[in-house]
């Protein structure tokens, strides 16, 4: 289990890498979305916004109406953000669940994979 502080620390690292990635910036062009993260083991929620190809800071709690909801264990969120976990593998096994329109899911799937590969 990862604490909210650990997830926030891992996310800050991921956010920095993502926002410096020019390929990701291109992939996120024109994609303005609110994403909720729900830790299935601790019940904690977090919110991220994507705007102008930039990932926002992680906010605590489920804020605003989400376009996408990502559900995973707190440990998987931390591992994902540290780059220790191949997101595709977790999506395929159903351990990480993405809920949203097919286009949004497609884009989040691809961007998390690119963030993983580009580290």
């Amino acid at each position: 289990m990862a604490t909210a502080e650990e997830i926030a620390e891992a996310y800050a690292d991921w956010q920095e890498r993502c926002n410096a990635n020019t390929r990701l910036a291109r992939m996120l062009r024109g994609w303005e979305r609110t994403v909720h993260l729900v830790a299935t083991d601790t019940g904690e929620g977090f919110t991220i916004a994507v705007s102008a190809s930039v990932l926002s800071d992680l906010r605590s709690g489920l804020v605003d109406q989400p376009d996408l909801v990502v559900s995973a264990t707190s440990e998987d969120f931390a591992d994902l953000f540290w780059g220790d976990l191949n997101p595709s593998e977790k999506y395929l096994s159903g351990e990480i669940v993405l809920a949203g329109s097919s286009e949004d899911v497609m884009r989040l799937d691809a961007m998390s994979m690119v963030a993983f590969l580009d580290q």
Binding site: R23, R26, M27, N86, S88, E89, Y91, L92, S93, S102, E103, M106, R107, A110, M111, M113, V114, L117, D118
Partner: protein, 484 residues
């Protein structure tokens, strides 16, 4: 004029899944139907065979994936179970002659190239969402999208050679065509019909997710049993004369088939019908003579919808030995004869089977290698990936779809630039009393068994809608007890 040997409401030409589903739907609507099949079997591009050692191999279409609901319903109806395609362990990437293990959809040995591949696939998938699977020519940029090939698009969309090579491998596995042979508009429309390009190339969560216990042809065989003597095998349709009703005569067709007699000689057999459903790929339909000739746009379409080139190989071993080494059996290669392989072993692992595709230009040029030459190269490549044990199968079988006269290739037609925008509407548009089925005409999962079933339903629905109520009121539905 020579009288008809038989008269029915509807002739269906072709007993692949599309023709069988057409016939079943028409019979259920109360129509008198006759299916003429050129081969000595039903199933079309789906063929399950048992090797001398008892291994079941699907020589053609074999998978079912999410949202392929018609196929699932058919399997459920006939009690055919499915099981997941073997996916445990690492896949292998062969790049520049070296072998690298990876997990997931995209090889990871060249991380920048892999990230580029994911980004390129996303671009392709997002573009595909904008293109209608049924009316791609209506896209505002249809002309531009249909003017270039997939290869030209990926050349500018991707930054790396790795991404270009992986997209080429995907095209070869999905279409039996290299990206340089395919119109971008066609690829986008085709991908959208199955969800996205990513869905087409995925195993878990995609088109290759599950297999049928006992093989994918079983449902076709059961449908054929149900249709009984409404199906005539060994009866290729060679010509069709038709009237569209414009001259005052009722619309109808006279279908001439060749039948093999007891002395193995061929004789013509004429069937009169109110409607004809042609359930085969356009390239195969092109061998049928029509009188009067079909409209120019249809004739042009038929000449511009060549089949992909594919040979499917199965190397059969006494056990799936690669699993001991933690390998899934899936290979993605950037060159060579086999660009993609899968573990095609039975669910119980009683045999080990590696299946691979020889596709596109390599398939065509491998003609000169002969079967023995292809086998030698395939086994060398399998041994490079899975070790020396792979070079010693107990059996090796190949199905060369390009040499099948009633498929002319596979797995599906590959349309080049300019075809969809100029001739696309002719794909499904009826010509007088003649309607078109076949997976190439499908609006969902075009190129797949699911698409074949959907196309059969659509063609049958068209036919029923054009006929008056007289025939529909007859009680000639299927009699399950007699197998008719």
């Amino acid at each position: 004029m020579t009288p008809a040997d038989r008269t029915v409401d509807v002739v269906v030409a072709g007993a692949g899944y599309s023709g069988l589903q057409t016939a079943r739907t028409l019979v259920d609507a109360g129509l008198d139907v006759l299916v003429l099949e050129a081969r000595d079997r039903v199933g079309g591009r789906v063929l399950t065979e048992v090797t001398p050692s008892g291994a079941v191999v699907d020589q053609g279409g074999q998978w079912i994936g999410p949202t392929q609901d018609r196929l699932q319903a058919l399997a459920d109806e006939y009690g055919v179970s499915t099981f997941p395609t073997y996916l445990d362990g690492a896949n292998l990437e062969v790049r520049d002659g070296s072998v690298h293990p990876f997990i997931g959809l995209v090889p990871t040995s060249d991380r920048d190239g892999s990230a580029d591949t994911v980004a390129t696939l996303l671009d392709l998938d997002l573009l595909a969402q904008e293109v209608s699977p049924t009316h791609p020519w209506d896209h505002p940029d249809a002309g531009a999208l249909d003017r270039i090939t997939l290869a030209e698009w990926v050349e500018s969309a991707a930054d790396t050679q790795t991404a270009r090579s992986l997209v080429a491998t995907a095209a070869l596995a999905v279409f039996g065509c290299g990206p340089e042979e395919l119109s971008l508009l066609y690829v986008l429309s085709y991908a959208h019909s199955g969800g996205s390009m990513s869905s087409l190339i995925r195993t878990a969560g995609g088109a290759q997710e599950r297999r049928f216990t006992g093989g994918a042809q079983q449902m076709a065989l059961r449908l054929a049993e149900r249709l009984g003597d409404r199906i005539v095998l060994d009866a290729p349709v060679v010509s069709v004369s038709y009237t569209d009703g414009g001259t005052g005569e009722p619309a109808g067709v006279m279908v001439t088939a060749e039948r093999r007699g007891a002395d193995d000689g061929r004789s013509s057999w004429r069937v009169a019908a109110r409607r004809l459903v042609v359930a085969m790929p356009p390239a195969v339909q092109g061998r049928i003579a029509f009188d009067p000739p079909l409209p120019g746009s249809r004739e042009q379409l038929v000449q511009r919808a060549p089949m992909g080139s594919v040979t499917k190989i199965h190397a059969v071993y006494d056990r799936p030995f690669w699993r001991d080494a933690g390998l899934s059996g899936q290979v993605v290669a950037d060159a060579g004869m086999l660009r993609a392989t899968f573990d095609d072993s039975p669910e119980d692992g009683s045999h080990g089977i590696l299946m691979g595709f020889i596709a596109g230009a390599v398939d065509r040029s491998s003609e000169s290698d002969g079967a023995a030459g292809r086998q030698r190269v395939c086994l060398e490549e399998l041994a490079r990936a899975f070790g020396p044990e792979a070079a010693e199968p107990i059996e090796f079988v190949e199905q060369r779809w390009s040499a099948e006269p009633y498929s002319r290739g596979g797995p599906v037609a590959g349309l080049g630039p300019g075809v969809l925008t100029a001739c696309g509407p002719s794909l499904r548009m009826p010509v007088g009393p003649i309607h078109w089925a076949g997976t190439e005409t499908a609006s969902v999962w075009s190129g797949y068994i699911e698409g074949a079933l959907e196309s059969g339903e659509r063609a049958a629905t068209e036919v029923v809608a054009t006929l008056d109520g007289t025939a529909l009121n007859r009680a000639t539905g299927l009699d399950e007890s007699s197998g008719q």
